[in-house]
């Protein structure tokens, strides 16, 4: 990757990192944290769904695994928070590999893959709700112990910085997918699996690597979620809300682009807050707007917000430039 590829990412990250120090209110900081967590989960979804074309409806399976592992390893085994978060990310990737191995080897794609991922997330939710070590239906309450080793900050601004760092890593991974050989293989599998295989791409291996990376990023979002909110139950960890948020953000922002999930998360969460503000305390009204946005984006802007005209023209110009340089 050249400096030119990295520049936009660095600018965006710098702006995000500077935001909390501009005197934002507590509510705005909370909003920023939620948005960044969803953006991170969406960046994870986008690796498999956007670049790989495999639409998962059950990314909660990875989010929840990351969250539960991070919480349980600290509470029951006394692990350091960093180690627990790392283990949560690793475990999320393993769960991704397992689900991916089972379903890709069985040849599931399209609607079937969406359904099987949804079912796996539901199985996890029911098990977590019934098991003892997850706290069952009562959930887990992480003790409040601010400090660098416990990854809890009395000052919320530092947590935003931590999130920005994670989003940055995920963003770089996505930029890398746009430029690397592995990314090209993944996109080839998305566009036409048979043709890719005929050209010598090991489609199963490519998809497995993609789902592991995708699950790891979304698991990180889960681990960070529990570190911030300090509470977890099966409905939060493995509920459909996060599966839906994780796919909405990239689709609305721009599916299969590095910045899509971030743009989508900011746009949707902002719109959601605005609706709640305007409509008062009516429950569910923000989600009605989300659902309508999803339909509208697919009907009128299949490339998402980043595919709209002002952005598209620039990208076309850049692609044309790249083509001339390449020739």
């Amino acid at each position: 990757m050249s400096a030119r590829d990295l520049l936009p990412a660095i600018v965006v990250l710098a702006v995000l990192a500077a935001l909390p120090f501009l005197g934002l209110s507590g509510a705005l900081l909370n909003f920023l944290v939620t948005t960044l967590i969803i953006a991170l989960a969406g960046l994870g979804w986008n690796v498999l769904g956007g670049f790989g074309g495999q639409y998962s409806f059950g990314h909660a399976a990875f989010f929840g695994t990351g969250a539960y592992a991070t919480a349980i390893l600290q509470m029951k085994l006394g692990w350091n928070a960093w180690g627990a978060l790392g283990a949560g990310i690793g475990l999320g990737a393993l769960v991704g590999l397992a689900i991916g191995y089972l379903s890709f080897r069985a040849g599931l794609r399209g609607s079937y893959f969406a359904l099987v991922t949804l079912a796996f997330a539901e199985v996890f939710r029911i098990l977590a709700n019934a098991a003892d070590f997850t706290g069952g239906a009562a959930g887990l309450l992480l003790p409040l112990r601010p400090g660098l080793a416990t990854l809890q900050f009395a000052d919320r601004r530092f947590f935003v910085l931590l999130l920005v760092a994670f989003v940055g890593v995920a963003l770089l991974a996505s930029r890398w997918l746009e430029r690397s050989r592995f990314g090209a293989h993944l996109i080839a599998v998305r566009e036409n699996e048979e043709a890719a295989r005929a050209l010598g791409v090991d489609a199963l291996a490519v998809k497995l690597r993609a789902i592991a990376l995708s699950a790891a990023i979304t698991a990180a979002a889960g681990g960070l979620y529990v570190q911030y909110f300090l509470y977890l139950d099966a409905g939060v960890a493995y509920g459909t809300w996060i599966s839906v948020e994780a796919l909405l953000a990239p689709i609305v922002g721009g599916i299969g682009t590095a910045f899509g999930p971030l743009v989508g998360a900011i746009a949707l969460q902002g719109l959601g807050e605005l609706t709640k503000h305007l409509a008062g305390g009516i429950p569910g009204i923000d989600l009605v707007v989300f659902g309508a946005c999803l339909i509208a984006v697919i009907a009128f802007a299949p490339q998402g917000l980043l595919g709209l005209r002002p952005f598209r023209r620039r990208r076309k110009a850049r692609d044309a430039r790249a083509a001339t340089v390449g020739a």
């Binding site: 379903s103 040849g107 399209g110 839906v244 429950p283 989600l287 009605v288």
Partner: protein, 290 residues
């Protein structure tokens, strides 16, 4: 071990629940068989129908079985309109887009109902739920027996519509070969919408049969939708006989796993079957080889 009477009752209860499940799955499998899409809004549309039944009873004291006369055509119209004017045009003929559009629809419907009616659970305020039929030593709840019989009858009716009418022939032609059907003058968009409408009409019947013994809140349909997916996958996507058999099987499995594992873990049997069938034999019991 359990007494034989408890086991027989569990099996019969399972069959009766399963018949209504089958009816819900029937709509899903019909839409899949013809449009080759998975309708994620199926559960939310069931919730809409259940609220309609509840509303008719609460406002006008209409008997839920009588309400069928109005609600079935209304739901058919809603389904026709949604497919013709929302799902069809919005998804540009791409399967992944259909998944997402119907997911969006389900989010809008479910949360729209939440905004209108809050998350309170509502039931019909009638004593019909308490009536029983005595069958030897067994006591069977009357509304559930009615539900069983009606669900089987509607399945038969749908089979007749598909096999003995011109509309049914057109639907089957479109399912088999879209382009060929268009070439012989069948309006494919219209047939798609009719099929979607029929799927919603099945939901309306199911809602009328469920409401006397069940309750409704904005999330009610979601509880049925994964069960319906399981049935459709088990029976074979697009197969009507498969939906019926799958529904009855799943009803019995749920009834027994609830008996053995308790309520909170009872549902897991269904999901495990779902995953297993998808992984081992995604064409299901009655599905054609892909």
């Amino acid at each position: 071990m359990y007494a034989p009477q408890i086991l027989i009752e569990a099996a019969l209860n399972g069959l009766m629940t399963g018949a209504v499940y089958a009816l819900i799955a029937l709509g899903l499998t019909l839409v899949y068989g013809v449009l080759h899409i998975i309708n994620f809004a199926h559960g939310a549309l069931l919730t809409v129908a259940m609220f309609a039944v509840w509303g008719a009873f609460a406002l006008f004291h209409v008997d839920p079985y009588l309400a069928m006369v109005v609600i079935v055509p209304l739901m058919f119209g809603l389904g026709y309109g949604l497919q013709r004017f929302v799902i069809g045009p919005a998804s540009h003929g791409n399967d992944n887009n259909v998944l997402l559009v119907t997911l969006g629809l389900s989010i809008v419907l479910e949360n729209g109902l939440l905004a209108l009616f809050s998350s309170d659970t509502r039931a019909l305020d009638s004593d019909a739920a308490l009536q029983v039929i005595e069958l030897g030593p067994l006591l069977l709840s009357t509304p559930r027996v009615i539900g069983f019989v009606a669900a089987i009858a509607v399945t038969g009716l749908l089979w007749l519509v598909l096999n003995r009418t011109d509309t049914g022939r057109a639907i089957r032609a479109v399912a088999r070969e879209k382009l060929g059907a268009r070439l012989v003058g069948i309006e494919v968009d219209h047939v798609y919408a009719v099929t979607f409408g029929l799927g919603c009409a099945c939901l309306a019947v199911a809602a009328c049969l469920l409401m006397p013994t069940y309750y409704v809140n904005p999330r009610s349909g979601a509880a049925f939708v994964l069960v319906a997916f399981t049935i459709v996958v088990l029976g074979g996507m697009g197969s009507i006989a498969g939906a019926l058999v799958g529904g009855l099987v799943i009803g019995v499995v749920e009834s027994f796993s609830g008996l053995l594992l308790g309520d909170s873990l009872g549902q897991i049997g269904i999901f495990l079957i779902f995953i297993l069938v998808l992984l081992v034999r995604p064409t299901g019991l009655f599905g054609a080889r892909a």
